[in-house]
Symmetry: C2
Subunit: 243 residues, 2 copies
């Protein structure tokens, strides 16, 4: 058996999320089916993170073990030939059998993109969330800075397991590219819906409904009911997992 690590991109639009479920098309389901087709035995895929329905990935990381005698490049080609158009393998390498994409990861980066113009755009609706009101990015930038560091993020989400809500955020910055405003956030790990809850709150700052200092107070409250509603899934993309 070979253990492989792969960097995977997917367009989340037509998926009910990453993780396999009883009902619905999932990224994990599609990957396991395709690997089974190639390896001719069941293959279990482990992933760095479980993205929600509608969330995209440019750099999800997975690992799996299979019977494979050929070069890894051949396996990557076979996967890209058989996987549906909305999932692709960006790279594939051999790793030690003990490698775990989730437990071995030291940090993850997400990007959330807002289309900030009066009218929505049919050609950008899959990868951006439309906000018609002009956003004050300087205030959102200022609010984002309060998130940097090791904090208890209980106000911004629940842990996927256990009850530790302390996370270490090393990047939280907005970048403006014309009418597209993107939020880049890097942390050792994320709580459930943490990025969307943070972005939903920062959008309120951009609209003037909250001040940057309010975000600091929300963080300090450690109370999920204090933060804004989560931003929509379609603007979110898992960019990179670092090891």
């Amino acid at each position: 058996m070979q253990t492989c690590k792969a960097v995977v991109a997917y367009d989340g639009t037509d998926f009910s999320g990453y993780q396999i479920q009883a009902q619905g098309r999932t990224v994990q389901g599609v990957l396991e089916e395709t690997l089974q087709q190639i390896a001719r035995h069941p293959v279990r895929v482990r992933a760095a993170g479980r993205t929600d329905a509608g969330v995209h990935a440019a750099g999800q990381v997975i690992a799996f073990s299979l019977d494979w005698q050929h070069p890894t490049q051949t396996l990557q080609r076979a996967l890209n030939a058989l996987l549906p158009a909305d999932v692709s393998i960006r790279s594939l390498t051999r790793v030690d059998a003990g490698f775990h994409p989730r437990f071995d990861a030291v940090s993850r980066q997400y990007r959330y993109t807002i289309l900030n113009q009066p009218e929505r755009d049919a050609l950008r609706h899959r990868y951006t969330t439309h906000i018609a009101r002009p956003l004050r990015v300087a205030l959102m930038q200022q609010a984002g800075r309060y998130l940097i560091g090791t904090h208890n993020f209980a106000s911004f989400g629940k842990p996927p397991q256990g009850n530790n809500t302390v996370r270490c955020v090393t990047q939280a910055e907005w970048q403006v590219n014309g009418v597209e405003i993107s939020f880049f956030i890097t942390a050792n790990a994320f709580l459930y819906r943490m990025v969307r809850n943070i972005v939903g709150t920062l959008i309120q700052v951009g609209c003037g409904a909250l001040t940057p200092v309010d975000v600091r107070d929300i963080l300090q409250a450690k109370d999920r009911s204090k933060a804004g509603a989560p931003a929509l899934a379609n603007g979110l993309c898992l960019m990179k997992v670092n090891y």
Copy 2:
């Protein structure tokens, strides 16, 4: 009755083309249904061009007449609120009742985008066509220059009606943006599938299967069987209609 001209964007992925059909979801069908909902009477939509299934538009132009007493901005907002996410109205203005988006157009511009890298990318599959083999863009550029001018384009398509296959091409150029290679072509009008047939042929030049001079010869042959197979629909986008 007010006559309005609108610039429309759509993501062609989930449409069976622009033109209304007995079966399948069409852009025209969605526009007419939504306008009828707003105007409370049937509305017929005329368009500058009929794009095929899977083809996108950033600047399709339509015209329609309806009972409307309010500002055009209100109509645009109502349309963008009611239309599905994959169709949007970029601008909307009042025009003379006699305006016809197709007959009054003096030229149209299309863009065709190729993703030219070894592996395909799930996040770009909707708007680009993947070609794994490195393309020699300089040769494709040279070949494209033979198309500029007034020529009989019978080798590259059939007329939508009548039998005049003479068209005047004023722009035919490739632009490289990293791994994305885009072909911009402007003409007074286009034959059926003309852009995709031209791009399919120029891709053969980029792969070395044809020389630039072969493209000149194919053009001069005025014979549909001489050109390459049409490039896939998903890379194509109607960018602009000029009046």
